[in-house]
């Protein structure tokens, strides 16, 4: 009986705090079972920089700057299934709390009027730094997203149920106790 | 006469009756220019309603404004037919001449320019409302003249009368528009028809008698299917095309 090939999974954190990735690792020893079924492609866990063709792409964090857009689009192009994991990816989360403010007011407030900065400090403009977008967007506003896993972070059990459903080809169903928005 | 006298004058004209709040707000605004927080408080006290309820009503209607909108409030009718006649270009020209953006009041508080929903002048557009009086057939020349009149603070009553003329444009009349009934004919016919013996006395007296057994009308009589023919149910606002 030929064992099914391992699914290739890629993960990344855009404008996220890596809390979701921590929660993914909270599945503890179950990660051994997981590794029977999947292999990690580009991911903070493997430190591979660019993702190749994958089956599942898991995105933590919303789209806050230009770099996030590039990474997100690369994931969309390479992954058959794209999953938004965590409140930031699903609805913008904490970073999006700046959205009703004007970006130029924020930058001026932080770098020009804020006390305690060395004199003559300018708004950072090193070409290496990605520029922030006027607003932070949940990822479904930038690319087509297939599945969503809300929570801040989603619990390890919720991630486990979600992944095992997905890998087994079932539509992920969390149910009461596992589905949380906070 | 300071503001509160003017407001109380309107209130007394309407018997301090909250049901007439729409007319009270309109007449007050026509007198004072806008509905300030103090104005709303005086009106609320006058009709004995909670102030929040009065502010709620004032905040619902686009022609009531709880912020100053200028001595002249110019509203450009923005139905698609006005767009097809170039209302946006004319409005932008007016805004540029008055140095303001649509929706914003000018620095000196003199004038504000904005769009509004269809004003019912589609056959003689583009149309505007200036302090809620209709002016039709706007052109670039008339925009320029209007800007000068506003700049020179000329009262509306001294604006060219022909601007305010609204055409009927009746192109094809039939029974409703051509029949010349002298006033009262329909009533006399109804009363005559109504005089047959089996029709009871004038409906006013009858309605009182009928009301007796119904008790206080405050209790909403539950609408049983039988009391109102099925068509009433059809009046549930299904889309006109259902």
């Amino acid at each position: 009986m030929n064992t099914p090939r391992k699914l290739k999974v890629a993960t990344t954190s855009l404008a996220g705090c890596f809390g979701c990735h921590m929660s993914l690792l909270d599945i503890d020893e179950r990660i051994l079972d997981l590794l029977q079924l999947v292999e990690f492609d580009r991911s903070p866990i493997t430190d591979i920089k660019h993702c190749s063709a994958c089956d599942i792409g898991i995105i933590e964090g919303g789209v806050c700057n230009a770099e996030n857009v590039h990474v997100l689009r690369e994931f969309r192009a390479n992954c058959k299934i794209l999953v938004a994991m965590g409140a930031c990816a699903v609805n913008g989360g904490l970073p999006a709390q700046r959205n009703h403010l004007q970006l130029h007011e924020i930058l001026t407030a932080v770098y020009a009027t804020e006390g305690g900065l060395a004199s003559g400090v300018q708004i950072p403009n090193d070409p290496e730094l990605p520029l922030p977008l006027n607003q932070v967007h949940p990822i479904h506003e930038v690319v087509k997203v297939d599945y969503f896993l809300p929570g801040c972070p989603p619990s390890a059990d919720a991630i486990w149920k979600f992944l095992t459903d997905l890998i087994a080809g079932r539509t992920p169903h969390l149910g009461h106790g596992l589905i949380h928005y906070d | 006469m300071n503001n509160s006298d003017a407001i109380n004058d309107v209130l007394s004209r309407h018997g301090n009756n909250g049901t007439r709040l729409m007319q009270i707000l309109r007449e007050t605004q026509e007198g004072l220019g806008w509905l300030s927080p103090e104005t709303l408080s005086i009106i609320a006290a006058g009709i004995g309603w909670p102030r929040a309820k009065v502010e709620g009503t004032a905040g619902f209607y686009t022609f009531f404004h709880t912020k100053p909108m200028g001595k002249y409030r110019v509203l450009w009718s923005d139905n698609i037919t006005d767009r097809m006649l170039g209302n946006i270009e004319l409005m932008q020209a007016m805004c540029k001449a008055l140095w303001l953006e649509p929706g914003r009041i000018s620095e000196d508080g003199l004038v504000s320019v904005h769009t509004t929903s269809c004003t019912g002048m589609c056959d003689q557009g583009p149309a505007v409302l200036v302090n809620y009086r209709a002016i039709t057939r706007m052109t670039m020349e008339r925009v320029a003249e209007m800007v000068d009149l506003i700049r020179s603070k000329t009262p509306l009553d001294d604006w060219p009368a022909e601007w305010f003329v609204v055409e009927n444009n009746i192109r094809r009349a039939d029974m409703l528009l051509s029949y010349h009934l002298s006033p009262g004919d329909a009533l006399r016919a109804s009363l005559a028809r109504g005089a047959e013996p089996d029709i009871e006395t004038a409906s006013n007296e009858r309605s009182w008698r009928e009301a007796l057994h119904a008790g206080d009308a405050g209790r909403a009589p539950r609408l049983t299917k039988s009391s109102v023919p099925a068509c009433a149910a059809a009046a549930v606002p299904a889309s006109p095309l259902a």
Binding site: A84, A87, V90, N91, G92, G93, L94, A96, Q97, N99, H100, Q135, P138, H140, E141, V145, Y147, F148, L149, P150, C152, H173, L174, H176, I179, H180, Y181, D182 | P37, E38, L40, S41, P50, R51, A52, K53, E55, G56, A58, G59, F60, Y61, T62, R222, K225
Partner: protein, 244 residues
């Protein structure tokens, strides 16, 4: 309870005269999603979450009088999908950031999202700019979470007789206002003991100095879903406070 009944998803539901379809269903222990309904107030009919099909026509079950022989469909895939869309509309209209909200775990909007399995706001979020009124010594008003259900308006008018709240504006700009020229809650006669302070289904009207007092796991909807709380929504139920 009269012997007259109507069918709700193939279950016979008895009803008393004057009851709405929803009240009869709740009385019979059948949960119907709702947000602007509250057992102690007249039906309002604005949130539309309780929309069902009655004899094939959509209708709000909270405002439709129960009648013998009605065929009511509630938990069909089509209606559940429409309820999910309505909930998503509410989620994108305001700023609902649950992780930092004191009402999380007690919030009906959130609990209904769990109940219906809403995993994403789906539409593009509007991110409105809404104020917070912290002027009152005991109560905070955070309008970011207001879903315009008017429960506080009805409670303040009918029970407290203070008319502290009202609505102003129209359409998407409709918003709650308070009964004071200054627009500040502190300048009204509002008190924490008012009924209006206990009926907000979301996190707008919050008692100060009590945030997050109940730990995660022991909050109202942690242990049991909203539908399991159906007894609380019965027309005769005395609802305990919404105190988070």
């Amino acid at each position: 309870m009269s012997d007259q009944t109507f069918t709700l998803d193939d279950q016979e539901i008895p009803f008393a005269p004057g009851q709405s379809v929803m009240q009869a269903a709740l009385d019979a222990g059948v949960f119907v999603p709702h947000l602007c309904y509250h057992p102690e107030f007249r039906p309002h009919g604005s949130c539309k979450l309780c929309t069902v099909k009655i004899n094939g026509r959509p209708a709000t079950s909270c405002t439709t009088p129960a009648a013998a022989g009605l065929n009511v469909e509630s938990n069909t895939p089509e209606i559940l999908d429409k309820r999910r869309t309505l909930l998503q509309m509410l989620l994108v209209e305001g700023n609902h950031f649950c992780p930092s909200c004191e009402k999380s775990g007690h919030c009906k909007l959130q609990a209904l999202g769990y109940e219906l399995g809403v995993m994403t706001p789906h539409f593009n979020l509007i991110y409105p700019d809404r104020p917070v009124d912290a002027s009152h010594p005991d109560v905070l008003l955070d309008f970011n979470r207001c879903i315009l259900c008017e429960l506080c308006i009805r409670a303040s008018a009918e029970v407290d007789k203070k008319n502290v709240f009202s609505l102003s504006g129209r359409g998407i700009t409709k918003h709650l206002i308070v009964n004071a020229e200054s627009g500040r809650l502190a300048d009204t006669d509002f008190a924490l003991t008012d009924k209006a302070a206990q009926v907000c289904p979301v996190g707008v009207i919050l008692p100060k100095k009590q945030g997050f007092s109940i730990p995660i796991g022991r909050r109202r909807y942690d242990a049991a879903s909203m539908s399991a709380h159906v007894d609380e929504f019965k027309p005769t139920a005395k609802v305990q406070e919404e105190r988070p």
